[in-house]
Symmetry: C2
Subunit: 586 residues, 2 copies
């Protein structure tokens, strides 16, 4: 009875990791979490505003997405240090998906973003509960590399309009570049000065601010925290400039009025057509968000020898997105840079996320009036600086050197994402990666084997001095048999029949075959029938236990014209004893 209770309570706390770390929460952890939360809050305020803008949503959506989702992750998340919230690539994907079903700036647009968050959240929870995390495997490394670099470039170009104060639109380079070019005539001087200034400052601060602070005497922790607050400084300075010199009246676009207060309760509307058209984008968004999140989560956990449960992470991310959908937010994920900062600042438990959410709530309650003068150009500058570090062209050189197939996948994903948009790019990359994988395994290594004279060993006739018989063909297949290579095997055996007129027996040496699926079984039956009609018997040798179990009940094995031999040597000895060489032949 008590044992049962333990089991069910541990199964329960498997779904609620908060129950395990929450029970042992102590003063020391509190200290680490509070400091980390303070730094992450400073970082998250500009990011949440900027990524909401990138997603085409009002600034407050970003703030709302940085409260409840963090609480949800704290309850369900298995990573101790992941920092959830709006992120660059998911916001770009949100803009691309929602832009196809609603016009930017409308209420319908925000509604659609909430539906996207809800759908993505539901999908993530379902994937977690059904343990479908393997779906993320479809996103091979070359695909994600090409996709992230291309997304970062698209994001940077999409923000140029805010930096220059010109109108421009588009989800692809083909749309963005002409649009930017046409807008160049309308550059707003004040916007450009603010934007370029912020960009230059942030670019400089990224690598130089911390050493400078150290030189002028700041302690390492303080210097680090202040350097992280660079975007806040840029926001404060440019907001001040706009307020003092009344630049908003001179054409500098500002964030403007942002409602003060906690997130509203929002109910994503049920609209079958809208939901249907957002299904595929939501799936892609879920997978990309999950891969980004799990990668950083696992990397950080390993540093402290902790564990992250992929299936539980799916549930936690799903809960975060669902709560974003019901509190006026936008799709969220575990952000890379933010999580690293959280970790480095000493976060010990997901409670740091709770304190961060409180910090954002306080900021939303107290400081939103200041955002009235915050120039969009500054937010654009923070985005550009953040995403350019994601561009990695080195992957092209590395994959070229390592494997042309992988190189092709990177190039295709990169090019299609840039030229045709994020969804098409992802799908094209995933499709090519799978096609190339199937191609690779569709032509497994098949060796014709012969006896090494004087031994019981059989080896590839092309590599060894071996003895064969014109009546017997021995084939060793170095791969499991499944649909992608089943027909290849048929081709190879058809060839052999046509080339070896005296052939009476084909023996397939199955030592390297770990599985045979229904397609391959069908091919074996076809091969067997064809051989029989040509007067040739089919035999198997060295079939592995599990494969034999699977074959046991099938008509293929029951009607096999030949036999199943324990070893290839036994097979050849029984079928063509005269061909066996008992001396080494020298």
């Amino acid at each position: 009875m008590s044992h049962k209770k333990t089991v069910s309570s541990s199964a329960f706390s498997r779904w609620f990791p908060i129950l395990s770390w929450g029970r042992q929460y102590d003063r020391e952890q509190l200290g680490g979490d509070l400091l980390a939360a303070a730094i992450v809050t400073l970082m998250l305020i500009p990011q949440s505003l900027a990524y909401a803008m990138l997603a085409g949503l009002p600034a407050q959506a970003g703030l709302y997405a940085s409260m409840l989702p963090l609480l949800a992750y704290a309850v369900f998340g298995s990573s101790r240090t992941l920092a959830v919230g709006p992120a660059a690539v998911t916001s770009l994907m949100t803009a691309a998906a929602v832009g196809q079903v609603a016009a930017a700036g409308t209420g319908a647009y925000w509604d659609a973003a909430l539906v996207l968050a809800l759908l993505s959240g539901l999908m993530l929870v379902i994937m977690g509960v059904l343990r479908l995390g393997f779906l993320a495997n479809f996103l091979s490394h070359p695909v994600i590399s090409g996709f992230i670099s291309a997304s970062a470039i698209l994001i940077a170009f999409s923000q140029l309009k805010h930096l220059l104060g010109i109108p421009a639109n588009g989800d692809t380079l083909l749309q963005l570049l002409p649009s930017l070019w046409q807008g160049l005539a309308q550059i707003n001087f004040y916007t450009l000065v603010l934007g370029a200034g912020a960009l230059a400052f942030l670019w400089w601060a990224r690598s130089r601010l911390k050493p400078l602070l150290r030189r002028i005497g700041a302690g390492p922790r303080l210097a680090d925290a202040l350097a992280k607050a660079g975007p806040v400084a840029a926001i404060a300075a440019t907001t001040g400039a706009v307020a003092i010199w009344n630049l908003a009246e001179k054409g500098v676009r500002v964030v403007g009025e942002v409602p003060q207060g906690l997130p509203p309760f929002t109910l994503p509307g049920w609209n079958p057509e809208l939901w249907g058209s957002l299904l595929v984008p939501a799936l892609l968004l879920s997978i990309v968000g999950f891969v980004e999140s799990i990668s950083v989560g696992q990397t950080l956990a390993a540093k402290r020898r902790q564990r992250v449960e992929p299936d539980q992470e799916l549930v936690a991310l799903g809960a975060s997105n669902i709560s974003a959908a019901f509190s006026g937010g936008l799709p969220v994920t575990g952000g890379f840079s933010r999580s690293v900062v959280n970790f480095d600042a000493g976060a010990q438990t997901p409670a740091a996320g709770v304190y961060t959410a409180v910090g954002i709530a306080v900021a939303t309650l107290l400081f939103t009036p200041l955002l009235r003068y915050l120039p969009q150009a500054t937010l654009a500058a923070t985005i550009i600086v953040a995403v350019l570090s994601l561009v990695d062209f080195g992957i092209l050189r590395r994959t070229w050197a390592y494997s042309r197939f992988d190189f092709a996948v990177v190039v295709l994903t990169l090019a299609v994402t840039l030229l045709a948009g994020v969804e098409t790019g992802l799908i094209a990359g995933i499709g090519l990666a799978i096609a190339l994988h199937l191609y690779r395994s569709s032509r497994p290594h098949v060796a014709v084997v012969g006896q090494v004279p004087g031994t019981e060993h059989f080896r590839n006739v092309l590599r060894h001095q071996v003895h064969t018989s014109p009546q017997v063909l021995g084939l060793r297949i170095d791969e499991s048999l499944y649909f992608a290579n089943a027909r290849y095997l048929e081709d190879r055996i058809n060839e052999a029949i046509a080339e070896q007129p005296e052939l009476r027996h084909v023996i397939i040496q199955c030592s390297a075959i770990n599985d045979i699926d229904a397609s391959a079984l069908e091919s074996l039956e076809v091969i067997e029938t064809r051989l029989l009609e040509a007067g040739i018997k089919l035999h198997l040798s060295e079939v592995k236990g599990p494969v034999m179990d699977k074959l046991a009940g099938t008509p293929f094995l029951q009607n096999l014209s030949g036999q199943v031999f324990l070893t290839h040597y036994q097979a050849v000895s029984a079928l063509a004893p005269e061909s066996i060489r008992h001396d080494s032949g020298k």
Copy 2:
């Protein structure tokens, strides 16, 4: 010089198999080919009319598709006995594809069918020249089984309206059944009598006519040929009935006026939007047609120990479809039943196809006026009888017994094809098959290995009495490493780090790893970094030659914290000599 000439002439005749069989053509082959052609012509006339009707095209399109395409196949085809022409499933796919872009019965509809044939032909030729025949591997056996059965059912239901003389439409059961139900009130009595009579006769003739003919004294060959001509008899009888009793005026729908004469030259129009929307249907059509064609071609070739070249077959089928597009036809493929008849009737070379084309041309020139009274109900009956033999529900039982994954693919393909149409069904089936394959290989067998005391062997700790050390973790991975299982490996090693606090060395035993792709290499780098941060070294043992060659130049291997050992025993001896048991421990 003369050697060069031989090479280039043999390369040339690789693309034109007619050059090899044509040179040795003799009297005996002529006899076999002529007889086979006569029987196939009798079979092809009703089939070509019926499949044109199934595709929603005028009857003559079927006749036109049975002339030039057969000549093209004779020039390029590598199968000696394949009989090309319109076929049931490809005609259904044509109707589904073209019905989405044009209204049935219009000129635009026929034009679109020609574009579809041209696109499909071009794709097939390109696939052949680039040796992309492996694309057909995407169509696993469970997908094709479920798809063919579902298509046959859809075809049978789509022909019921002709049999009953009622209007009905739809590409799916969900559309067809209500449409048929609504039409029931308008059943045409005369049509029903003709159709049901033809259906009953054909059904009976299929199995009973030949034995009957034998009993009344016909020789086996003659009986066979006459039995094959059953549909022609049904056509003659019902056409006669319509003509004599003027049934066309009583509401029996007839084929009607068919232009007398050879195929027109048609030029499929260039319309980017139309071509774009037919791309995916053309690809699916190409793959389904190719798989049907190559399966029967290889089966027949093997019976005579001949060879069929898959890549050459792609080119030949492509040429056939292109010539169909330019001569007013519809998409064609190598039909199953027709090819078997051709083979059984003694066809020796593709010249039989040429004679068949001549037979069809003569029929088109002389007998088309007779088609004026041919009732559509008779054609519908021939289609229904032909396709019902394609329905195979046994596949459900067989795959259920063999593998639940394969069963799931059959059921999904069958259900989605019936309920959502041929293209959606195929794509869903292909998608699920690939997803399940990736799922299966995404969790490869990974064994923790330990030393069999007193030996140099290392075995799975779960199955053998072996010795391990708390400082060393040996993992044997029984699968090549690629994107689908790369992350799983990360998970497994993360687990191990978290569970084994004293761990100092991880050794991956690579004896079963045949390839490592870029994703897996990236995962290995991530694993290496994470281990290093936890103070653990990563080592490899028993790396295969080709894999070692590939890894040699990579930063992963250059920066590896640990070493690469020839054998796992050497690795453990070097890293934890105290853990090695030199006696068997008994």
